[in-house]
Point group: C2
Chain length 338, copies 2
C-alpha cells in the first residue's frame, strides 16, 4: 500500500532574506514500510529562524544540499508500524522536516507520554516550550546566565518562544525582567507574562538610551536572540560581571560574511568584566528529561505560559518561514499539517 | 627638609593616539613628611597601554582629571620614614605614577622581600612579570582560558609582557602555542621563549588565513591583547567550545566611541559554542601572593623568562608611553628614574 505525501525541499540558496521561491513543494509517493520501520503522519511541524544558516552554509557550516527536505521538528501519529517499540496511534516527535509523512526506523523518535501531555500541556508543546526553543531558554538562562535574586535580566525577541520562556523563568528566580519586542501588541503580550517592563524597538531611536531608561541600575544578564546593534546597545548597559547569553542572532542570519554587523564595544569586556557565551542546547542533552519534567510541572501549575502561532496546511510552510524574518510571528510558529 | 621632585601630569586629553603634548613634566617641592608618612625615591615606574582609557574617560569610565599625576606602578627606596612598618633603605612598590618621589602613609605600599627578589628575579620584576602584567597572564590563561594538554593557544602581542608570559605558562601546561607579533625580531624573540610558531602580522594580508595556516586544527584558546580585526580573524578559527580571554584591546584604545572596530562574527558564538570573557586582574586579589610565589619559583628555576625594555630618565616617560602605540617596545617598558 503506497502513501501519497508532500514535502518541502530547498530549491535555491537564499541571498539575504529567504524568499518563497527558495523552496519547492513536492509530491512524493512512499512505498510500503520495511522491516522495523514506522510510518508517521505529521500533525505539526515547526519553522525556526535558527535554520537559516543551514540554507546557505559557509566555509564553516555544512549547508543543506539543494533538493533536500527542509529541516525542522515535527509531531505526528504512527499510522503503520513494523517496529515493536511503536504501535499504531502513538503520538511521536522527531526531526523529519517540512513533510506530510515520514518513514523511520524509529531512531531519534520519541513517543509522547499522555501522562505528561494533557490539559494545559498540549502535545504541540513537545516541539515548542518543551522542545528545542524551551530547552534553549532553560539552559541558556540558568546555566550560562546564572541568575541571582534581584538581578536585572534583559531579553530581546521577548515575545518569541525562546525569549518569552526565558523571561518567565527569570521571574521565577526573583529577577527583574525587561523585554524588547517589535510592536505594542507584542510588548503587551510580554507584560501579560509578568515581565516588569518592555521596550518597543520600532519606537526607539537610541536603543542604548532606551535600555538605560528601562534598566537604570544596569543589566546583569542579557539574553540575546537578535545580535548586531541591539547587542552592542545592551553591552553599553551591562553591569560589572554581566553575562551575555548568545541564544540567537536573527538580525545577522540573512547577512553575508562581509555584511555582518557584529559589535563594537569589546573593550567593555575588560572595563566591566563581561562574559559572552554561545549556547548550543545539544550540549545539555543529558539534562533534557529533567528540564522537561520541571517545565511541565510549571506549565501544569499555571506558572509558565506559552503561545503558539499556528498556520493551517503544509502549503503555507515556506511563507510562514519567510514571515519569521519580518517579525510577523507571535509565539512559537507551527504548521498544522493534518 | 624639603625635597625637589618631578612628576608628569595630564595636560590635555588625547584624541586618537596619545601625543607628547598631552603630558607635562612639573617640578614640585615636597615638604617634610608627617607623622606615619614615608618618603620614597623612585627607582622605576612603568608605562602601560591599558592606562590609555583613563586619559579620555567616557560616559562609563572615570577619567583622570587634567593636571593630575599620570597613573602607573613604581618601585622605589624608602628615604625617610615616620612609619614603623617601613625603614630607611627598604625597597617598596606602590601605585604612585610617573613621579621621581612619593610621600605615602604606607597604605597599598609593599616591601619587596629580598628572599624572593634576588638572582634571576630582579626587583623591577615586581611591577612586571610578578606585577599586574604577569598576574594578568597567569589568571587570564589559567582561570578564563582553562588550558588542557594539547590545546592550541593563540596569543596576540606575544612579544609584550602579558603575551610572552601567558605563552610560556601555556607551554608548561602542555599546550601548542602560536604567537602573533609585529616584526621578525619580535617573532624571533617569541620563538626563543619556546612558542611553537609565530605570525608576523605586518607581513600578513589575510590574518584569518594566516591563523588557519599556523593552527590547522583550530584554536582552543585565544589570549587577546589587541582586539578589532585580529580578534575577528581569530574567532573564525576557534574550535567548538573555544575560549577567548579579553586581556587587552590595544588596537581599540585610541578610537572614539564611534570609531571602534569590534568584531563581526558573533554568530560563531552559537555555531561554535564560544565563550569570551574580560579579565580584570584585581578580581583575583586574594590569589596574588600564591600566584607570585609560583611564578617566582618558575623564574628562579629558569622555566619562565621575562624581558624589560628600560629607558633612562623621567624626562622620557611621555615619549616611552606614546611609543607603546607604535609597537616599538620589546618587553615590559619601564622608566629608570634613579
Amino acid at each position: 500500500m503506497t502513501t501519497k505525501a508532500k514535502r518541502w525541499v530547498l530549491a535555491s540558496r537564499p541571498e539575504g532574506k529567504p524568499k518563497l521561491d527558495n523552496f519547492r513543494l513536492e509530491d512524493v509517493t512512499l512505498s510500503d514500510i520495511g522491516e522495523h520501520d514506522i510510518l508517521i503522519r505529521t500533525e505539526f511541524h515547526s519553522v525556526d529562524p535558527g535554520m537559516r544558516g543551514r540554507l546557505s552554509g559557509d566555509s564553516y557550516t555544512a549547508a543543506l544540499p539543494l533538493g533536500e527536505t527542509v529541516d525542522s521538528a515535527m509531531i505526528g501519529i504512527v499510522e503503520a508500524s513494523n517496529n515493536e517499540k511503536f504501535k499504531v496511534g502513538d503520538r511521536v516527535t522527531g526531526g523529519f522536516g517540512w513533510v506530510s509523512h515520514a518513514v523511520s526506523n524509529g531512531r531519534g523518535v520519541q513517543v509522547l507520554d499522555p501522562a505528561i501531555y494533557h490539559g494545559k500541556l498540549r502535545p504541540s508543546a513537545a516541539i515548542g516550550v518543551l522542545g528545542i526553543p524551551g530547552l534553549t531558554s532553560y539552559f541558556g538562562l540558568l546555566d550560562l546566565g546564572e541568575p541571582k535574586k534581584d538581578d536585572t535580566v534583559l531579553i530581546s525577541s521577548a515575545a518569541g518562544p525562546v525569549g518569552a520562556t526565558a523571561g518567565q523563568i527569570a521571574k521565577m528566580k526573583g529577577c527583574r525582567v525587561v523585554g524588547i519586542a517589535g510592536s505594542k501588541d507584542k510588548c503587551d503580550y510580554v507584560k501579560s507574562l509578568g515581565f516588569d517592563a518592555t521596550i518597543n524597538y520600532r519606537d526607539t531611536k537610541d536603543m542604548a538610551a532606551a535600555i538605560k531608561a528601562a534598566c537604570p541600575d544596569g543589566v546583569d544578564i542579557y539574553f540575546d536572540n537578535v545580535g548586531g546593534s541591539m547587542l552592542d546597545a545592551a553591552i553599553l548597559n551591562m553591569k560589572d560581571h554581566g553575562r551575555i547569553v548568545v541564544s540567537g542572532q536573527v538580525s545577522e542570519y540573512n547577512r553575508g560574511p562581509d555584511e555582518l554587523v557584529g559589535i563594537r564595544n569589546v573593550t567593555r569586556f575588560i572595563t566591566h568584566k563581561l562574559r559572552m557565551e554561545g549556547l548550543v542546547v545539544f550540549d545539555y542533552f543529558k539534562g533534557f528529561k529533567a528540564a522537561q519534567a520541571e517545565m511541565a510541572g510549571w506549565i501544569h501549575a499555571g506558572e509558565l505560559q506559552y503561545t503558539e502561532d499556528i498556520s493551517d496546511g503544509i502549503e503555507g510552510s515556506a511563507a510562514a518561514f519567510v514571515g519569521l524574518f519580518e517579525g510577523e510571528n507571535h509565539g512559537r510558529r507551527l504548521i498544522k499539517v493534518s
